[in-house]
Each structure stands twice: as C-alpha cells, then as structure tokens.
Symmetry: D2
Subunit: 354 residues, 4 copies
C-alpha cells in the first residue's frame, strides 16, 4: 500500500487556505488530515472546503498536534505565532513546513533553529517559495553551470500592486517592516545565489512614503531601496514597493563576470498580447499568488517527498535566520538613516573596514 504523509495545517487565513488546499488537492503523496484556526469564520470556511474530504478541524492548535497519526504540520498562521507553533510541533515530533518569516525577530527566529537542531530526524523548512519556482531554479542552475562566471552583483525587487484600501498600514504594525516582509525573499535569493555563508559587511537603505504617509507611524515606508555589501566582494541591492500600478513586479538579476541571468525582467500574466490603438500591451500578475502559485504547489510536494523518503531538504533552516538578520538591519538603516557595519564574524562595528 502506498504511504502518504499525514499533515495538518495551522492557520486558515489567506495563506493557510492556500496551503491547506494545496496539500488536500495538489500533493498526491500527502493527506491533509487536520487543520486548526482560532477564527470562527475561517473554521466555517473549512467546514465547507476541508471537512467533507476527511479533514478534522480544531479551534486549538495544541489539540491538533495530539491527533493520532499526524506526522507533519504546515504553519501558515499569523507571523507572530509562526515560531511558537513551529517549536511546539517540533517538540511534538512533527515535521514542519513554516511560512516565512520564522519571526520578525532574529532571536525568535533563532529559537526555531535551536529547537530543530535538537531533533535532527525531523524535517523543518522555512517556506521561501521562490526557491521552488521553475524560473529561479533554471537561473540558479545556469549560474551553477558557469554560464555567467562568478556572480558578483544581485539586483532583486519585490513590488506589490498598490492596494488603495490602506491594508498595508494596519499590516505594517506586525510585519517587521517592508524589508523584513517583502525584501526577505530577495535577501534569501542573495543567500541562495551568493552562498549561504556570505557574510555582510555593511547595509544602507532609504525609504519614502509616496502614497501612504501613515506607514511612518509604524516606522515603515511604502518604497525602499537597500544596499548590502558582502565580505567576499559581492553586492546585493533591493527595491521593495507597495505601489506598483500594473501588478506584482518581482524581478531579479544576477550579474556575473561572464554573463547575466535574469528572472522576470518584464512581468507578464500569460502569453497573450493585445494590440489596440494604445499600442501593444500585456497584463501582469496582480499578486504574488498569480506569480508563484505553482511554486507553492512544488514546495508542498517536495517537502512531502523529503519527509517520506527521509531525504535532505532543498535548503537549510539556518538561512531563514540570516535573512531576517539582514532584513532587520536594512529596516533599521532605513529608519535611522545610518549605515550599519559588521565585522567578518557578524558583529556590529562602528565604521567601515576598508
């Protein structure tokens, strides 16, 4: 008989619903057996969309963890409880796929890594979805093959479509700020393309509030550019924005000594172009989900396979802490206006080492 991974989903908000449905319908080797949410509205949704397919529902996450036979948990709740729920799952001997970031705090993020390191038989992964996107993988493979020589400069941006509802202002209170919330993906890409051991030498950043001045109440901005220098002579620079007019514009370029590989330089929704009296135009993805939906499906399937076959995960959990560390430093550099310096051990120092 075929073995399938019994998994539960923690959180049924925007991302939780997606992860739950991915494990239910698009991950053949997994079986969604449980889901939890403290929110009655979310549970109501689950009664229609999950329960009829054999998924047990819980209001209490801790109760779910006790379900007989549960092998793994996907943590897709609010960022504030990611770490706590991940650690509880680890302690309950469950494999964990945790949505990014582990936490907006470096220390809390580290605590998840510490918990996981005590249970090396468990698979614990932070869901950096772009690592599962076919285009990013192809780009990475091309780099690894040597097609661009030594990668030296990385430009990457995570730019959301303008949401005029003001959602981002409330969201900013808990998001960790634009560099931790958006640029975390770009930072993770830098660590993937430059190597997980890349040590930062300095960060500087500037930000503005072009459309949403109220973001300043939460020390946040709606457009920000960050500049990261690594000790081995590499540069990464990031742009994050909340005000794209056309849609989601997540672009990455890696410039090497012999070539350049780029992903999504001109965003596009599909393969259609329309010609009319305004010219020739293409629509673009409206959200990160439009852009990365299939990456999330691949993530669910590969996490499942890694657990079932006890194989190595595609990347290590430690990087998730390093990404938050860089994101938080950029956020601080932006808010304080100061450039921040590090020594080769990762400790802060007062000034640049030339």
């Amino acid at each position: 008989m075929v073995q399938r991974l019994k998994i539960g989903c923690a959180g049924l908000g925007r991302m939780g619903k997606r992860h739950a449905l991915n494990f239910l319908e698009r991950t053949p080797r997994a079986e969604l057996v449980a889901a939890s949410s403290p929110d009655p509205v979310e549970l109501e949704w689950a009664k229609t969309h999950l329960e009829p397919f054999g998924v047990r529902l819980y209001q209490d996450y801790d109760e779910m963890l006790k379900q007989e036979g549960l092998q793994a948990v996907v943590v897709a709740s609010a960022t504030a409880v990611h770490a706590e729920q991940a650690i509880k799952a680890i302690n309950a001997e469950k494999h964990v796929l945790c949505e990014k970031p582990l936490s907006t705090s470096v220390e809390t993020s580290q605590s998840v890594v510490d918990a996981a390191s005590k249970k090396p038989h468990l698979k614990v992964m932070c869901g950096f979805s772009r690592r599962f996107d076919l285009s990013y993988r192809d780009a990475h493979k091309k780099m690894t093959t040597g097609l661009i020589g030594t990668p030296s400069v990385l430009r990457s941006q995570t730019c959301d479509k303008l949401d005029p509802s003001g959602f981002f202002v409330a969201y900013a209170q808990y998001s960790g700020g634009i560099f931790v919330d958006c640029s975390i993906h770009d930072i993770d890409l830098a660590l993937w393309f430059f190597g997980a051991n890349s040590q930062i030498k300095s960060v500087s950043a500037v930000g503005i509030t072009a459309v949403e001045p109220d973001l300043r109440k939460h020390n946040d901005r709606d457009n920000a550019v960050g500049l990261v220098e690594f000790f081995d002579g590499k540069i990464a620079y990031f742009y994050a924005s909340r005000m794209m007019a056309a849609g989601q514009e997540d672009t990455t370029e890696i410039i090497g000594t012999k070539g350049k590989v780029a992903v999504n330089v001109v965003p596009q929704m599909n393969l259609v172009q329309l010609s009319d009296d305004q010219g020739v135009r293409r629509e673009i993805p409206q959200t990160y989900w439009d852009r990365f939906e299939l990456a999330f499906v691949t993530e669910a399937n590969e996490f499942t396979a890694a657990v079932l076959e006890n194989q190595e995960l595609p990347f290590k959990l430690e990087g998730a802490v390093q990404a938050v560390r860089i994101g938080a430093a950029l956020q601080e550099a932006m808010v304080s206006g100061k450039k921040i310096f590090f020594d080769e051990s990762g400790n802060r120092v007062e000034s640049a080492r030339l």
Copy 2:
C-alpha cells in the same frame, strides 16, 4: 461523503501515460480505477506507476469497460482505434474524453458523433487541449469582450522541434498528414474564435520536404502552409512544421477590425533570460507537453467536473468532425496541388463562387 469520478484510461503510450497520471495525481475529483493497453511494455510501466495506487490493469480494452463502477473512459490510444474505443465506451454507457483526432477520416469521426448523439445523457468530448490553456482562454475572452472588434483574420501555427531520428516518417503513415495531425489544433482554434458554424468556401495549400524527403512516400510534407476562406468574409491561414530549431513554436494571432489579440508570439520556456557574449537569449518549450502540460490538467479536471455536475461541456463534439474535414481538405489540396471549393452547404463545387 465526497463523490469522485471513476475513470479508466485506454492506451498507455506517450499520451496515455500522461492522461493516466493526470487523472491519478492531478484531478482531485476523479479516481483512476482502471487502465488498459495491449502492449506488455506499457503494462509493465503501469505495474510500477499505477497499480500500487489502486488502478486495475487490463490487456483487453473490452474487459476494462466491464469493470464494476467504471463511469468514464479517457481514450488515449493510437489514433487508429480512437473512434472504435470511444463508440464502445459510449455504448457501454461511459462518459468519454477522447484524444484528438476522433479519426483521420471524416466519416469515422462522424460515427463517434452519431453514437454520442444517441446517448445525450453522456458527456463525450474530444480533447482539444488548447481550449483549456489559460492564454488561449484569455485571448478568447478578450475577443468576446469586444476588444478587437470583429475577428476577421486568424493566423495560427503548430511547429514541432526538429526530431532528427526520422520518427515522423514512420508516424506519417497513420497520422493523416501534417494538416490533420498538427494543424488540427489551429483549425479548431479557427472554429472556436470564428464560431462553430463557420462554413468553408475554399482551401488551398502547399507543402515542401525541406528536411525529410521520405515523407513523400506517405503523401506528407515537413512544412506546409494552408489557406482557408470562410463564407462570412473571414480568413484563416495555418503553418505547420516539423523542423523548428529552437523548440515548439505554437503561435496564434486573431486580427479584428479594432485590434489584435495574439498568443505566444515569441515562445518562451519560462521567465529566465541569459545575457552572454552572444546577446540576450531565452529558451523555449521543446515539446507541446512543455507548452500545454497545464492545459491537459485543466482538461482532465473540467471534464470530470462536467460529468459529476452534469453540466454542459465547454465545446461540442461536432466541431471535431468539422476540424478533420478541413484538415483533410487541406491535406488533399496540398498533395494534389489543387484549390478546393465548397458551397454554403459544405458540398464540393468545381470553382470559386465570386
């Protein structure tokens, strides 16, 4: 309890394997319960990939049809037996998803339609995969919305990557020829975008053997251009090729009185571009599967949903006969060198009606 469609797969060759796996793994509302193939090698594959998941295997298609509870069949065998197997399934009260074409013969294709019309409670669909592709659907929607005015000219091509193995020569013996095998998709698109009732007025075609002269033994060509005139003042023209260097190039443009909508004008494999001393380049899909994989998944899911919910299929079976009729006429026009004319009832006439 949730109802799932019990379906069997006839044929486990190149396409059969894909359909079987799609219904097994990527169609949550369907349950692949059976598969048949007369080929021992194919059955061996199925023992590894299907049987462990509860799929019963048959050497004899007729036996499979008798399986208790079987509700539907996907016919993905050799083209030569499509019609026979589809009709048997219909007569056995099964819903049918039949790979294109129903047959390379107009009459045989019509016999499937006739069989289906006697069982209006059954869902019988010919698998024109492009109808399920998101880009084609978006293009069709844009046209329907009026963005291009009245559609007037359609250009469409199905161009395969050069396969230097000579496979296409052997294949040509049974394929019906390049217009029936390749352009059938483009013809179906013309019927979709111009309307299923479009009546052909004339067809002309030319073909060459640029890389594979042996194709002439089977009255076939490796590059062909066909020109179809419709009675309501519309034109469709098609290009089919077996010798693309870069990969699969399936492009379609619909030109209307107020605009143009185009699909896949410049093919692309993914969102990656590579810059090196040769310039900036993108890879393109190597096969129709690279290009249309997700369309086949959607096809399986929508066919399943239509059966389970007893809803209308997205398009009628009759069009599949009309597509073969036009494809066969183009093939004949190419081989004979003659332009072929029709009256408004679809009968052949000797000369153009001006």
Copy 3:
C-alpha cells in the same frame, strides 16, 4: 575639391517631399539641385523648403531633365508616371533612383528594365527601402552566414494602420491592388532571401473587405493572404492589411532547416514601455515612415555612393519586374478565386505539376 552628385527630384507629394529633403539634408555626398512637380501646391511648399537652399524648381519634368549639370534623378511621383519618367531620365543619360513599383503593369515595368539595359553605364535602381534597413540586412547576413541552414519558408506581412478617412478606396483605383501596393515589399524580400532567380510554381490568394466594402469597386480588398510556391521547394506566404489598430506591423520570418531569423516580430516605436493599471504597453510605429525613415536615408546615400564611385548597385533592376509579376498574379488569384500555375520558364500552365 569634393565631388557631389547633382540630383533632381521628380514629384513633391508625400514621398517626393521626403526624398527631396533626404537628398538635401541627409545625403552629404549629394546636392539636390532641382525638383519638379505639376502641382502648384507642392511647388509652393518647395519655394519655402527647397528653393532657399539652391534648388531650382520646375513645373515641367522634361524641363528639369535639361538642367545643366544634372546627373541623376529620383523619381518619386505618382506610380502611374514612374516608368515614363524613369525612361525619359535614362534616355537623357541620368542615373535613376525610382520609387517602387516601377509600374503596376509587368510590361511597363519591363520597359524600364529594357531602357536601362541599353545604358549599362547608368545606375538605375528601384527603391525597395527594406533592402536598406539595418534589421533586414542583419537578418540577411545571418542567413548568408549559415545560421539558419537552408532558408525554406518565408512569412512576411505589410500591414498599415487603419485610416478611417477612406483614403485607401480612392487610392485603390491606381495602386494595382493590395498585393502590388503593399505585398510588393514582402515579395521583394522573398526574392532577396530566396535568391533573385527563384521561379514561381503556383500562387493562390484570398481577400476580404472587413472594414471597407467599397474597395471591391476597384477589385481590391482590405485584408489579403497570398501563398507562393517556388520550384526549388520553397514557400513564401504574405499577409497584407489596411486595418491594424495599433499601427504599422511589418513583420518577416525566414525559417530554415537549422534556425529561424525574424524581423520585427513585435513592433515597437522606441525603447519605452509604460506600466499602468492596464498592464505593460509599448507604442508602435504609426506609418511605414516611422518604421523605415532611416532606411530611406541609407538608400539615398548608397545610391549616391554607387553613382559617384561607379560601383555596383546593391541589387538588380530586374527583380522589380519579377516582384510586380508575382504581385499581379496574387492579385488576380485573389480576385478570380483561382489558383494560378506556372512552368519552370515562367509561363502559365493549366494545372499543378506534381
């Protein structure tokens, strides 16, 4: 002292003005010394824009030919007098750059070639502007270098922006029809890329009047597709249109046994792209002038250099007759609805030679 070519311009209409200014301002080695037009309005324009720069003006073309020191003539008058004026210039010992087509009649076109062949010391060229376009030249060079193997199929289109003024109806009376007026460029490209000696085997064509039914009064159409078969196993197919919504769409693809080279697959006005809530869009050239302005400048300069240095012209005059022959055959095939066949000597025959 530096020698400059003394040239006169016949005709000061839309194209005449452009040629006159090109020779006046953008052809350093030429000196525009004369211009003629029977039209008082055009002469009035010339008094402001040409006369102050030393250009003598004539109402009578024959008078201009007598101007002391005149060495060459650019014939940019109405198509109906192209041939007559070109022949007169040749007979008056002038070098000639004649706008396309030499004539809408094959016989009249041939008469220019005959006149020129009696004066082999004169440079007589028909202005197929695309031969001077850098992109077409680069494409041709890539083909010649062997990058696409043996060129086998050529697709080319000349598609004008919709002009709702009805201009094209009046124009159609003298234009020779859409295949002679528009597709002549694409036909010339086929002769350039496939070789000047390519012999046609058959032509077929269909046309519609999607926006301008009155064109039928002049046996013309607003959208037409033509299919040309050559004796050496090559195919060219052409699309011409008068109703593009976005602007001028002149696209060409040459498919070879080892690759494809394409020009202007997605038209663009410049290097700008605009992102707004409709997506990402680019404007495209509105007219052939927007697209080919620099090609006309190169044409003027290269014609001038060929005369001054007595070097071979970039292509032979004979091709201009062959292009009209093919264009006229396509027009006839479209209007009569009949496929037209030729033997290898270029004579018409009744049916296809298989």
Copy 4:
C-alpha cells in the same frame, strides 16, 4: 541666402572625430569650418576626412579660436581640458557645446558656469546625450503628461561591455571614477525627471572590483551601486559596471504613484531575433555609440538651431555642476565606505536629519 552656423571642433580623439563628422555631414544648418588637436595622428586623420571638405586644421586650440567668422565651438577633447577650453571659447565670444563632464571637479565645473553667466547672449551647453534620445524624451513626456502620477523612485544604470584590454585601468586615473564617468548620465536623468532643483539629502555607495583589481590603485571600482535620497521624498539608485558580457546595458525606470515608465529594459541592437538550438536570441548594442548615435546627431542639430534662432537651450548649464557634485559624493562614499549627509542648502552635515 541660408545662414549656417560656423563651428569648430576641439579635440579629434574618439569623441572628437564623431562630433566633427556629425557637424560636417549630419547637421545641415551647421558648417564645420575648423578643427584642432595637439595630436599629430589625429591631425593626420583630419587631413583625409575633414580638410577636403573645407575644414581648416589647427594644432593649437587658441589659434583656432581666432579663425575669422568662427561662431561656435564643440569641445570634445580630453576631460582634463574641457573647462579651460570652454572658458576660453566663451571669453572669445563663441557659443559652446561641451562634452560631459565639464570637469571631474565641482569647483572647476562651476567656473565654466560662472564664465557663461557673464555672457548671457552665448549658448553654452553640456552634452548630456541622453537628453536628446527619442526614447528618453518619450519617457519624459509620458511622465510630464501625468501618466505615472508623481515620480518617486528612479533606477538607472550605465553598464559598459567588458573591455578585456585593461583600458579602463589607465582611463580611471583621469576619469573621476565610475560614478563621475558613467553614472553622471544617470544622475543627470534623475535631475531631469525629478527636477533640476532637487536637493540631495544623503548618498551612500558600494563598489567592487570583480574583474579589474588594479582599478583600486586609482580609487576606482568596476561595479558600483549608489543610493541617493532627495529632500522631497524621492529616491534615485544607480548601477554602473565595466563588465557586461553582452554589450552596453543602459536602462532606466521611473516609478511613480500611478505607473512606471521605463527605457531599454531589455537592450536590443535592432529588430532581429534569431532562433536556433540555443533558444531565441537578440544581440545588443556593443557600445554607447551603438545605442546613442542618433542622440548625438540630434544634439548637434538642436544646439545649432538654438544658436541660429537665439532660442533657449533644452536644459541649463547649472545642472552639469550639480551632476558632478552628486557623482563625486557617490565616489567618495564608495571609497570611504561612509554615508554622506547634506542639509537642504547643500552643505554637508554629520548625520541624517530624520
């Protein structure tokens, strides 16, 4: 009789030759009457290419200034003498078109502005060629029209093709550094798109030597990213590189509150694309001249017209000083590793004003 501007060219190196030929051959309203160079090799070239067309040659710039009737000078000599020659020309009552930068020193640049301000009847322009490029102008017009709302973030890069000869090392000694030499164009674009009065608040920058470590001898780098914050809530960030594999990659994006306008997001040499077994590829410009040749021609023509018609120049000379000021600050920030802050009057301050 038609008046033409009598102009002399100072310097006949790489850029001098180009300016000389542009004024000689491609600027109908100008007359190149003189050219000077201290270099015998350059003068030898001029004897062949300029003298036969009536251009007087000088070894001594001061002598050229005395030529009877000379009205204007294009200063295209080595950067080190730009300012001196420009000031001498101004004092000799000549109009001046001076290649960028006026000087690598802010003070010296300012001295040209001071000299010019004493002669308001003279036209003195610094040649920021991108201001004359049709794509940049179209982008600026689209912004001015309001299509992107309020411009807020500008990304711009000037990236040269890798020159493995080591030329850039020697060049770096006098170039002012990568930010003054390359990014000066991007900085000028920021001043153009954000407004000439934009006041900088802070600059930070990092640079690496990925291919040419010897550049450090001259305090320069081969890849650098700079970040500029303006007082009115705008951000500009720049990337400059000497190691592009495919060619010249000069890209600019202006992100506004309602849209984005971008120039040259994917560079291209022309309209050709080649498909082969590597995919679909386009070549790109190899040098800034490939990309901006026509902009230099327009520059020459518009400067000429402004002088002849005594009209305002398209932009003010003062901006050239501001651009050098920002470029030099970026260079200093890169070399020192320090972030540099300014108050609203442009004075340096110790720390960020929040």
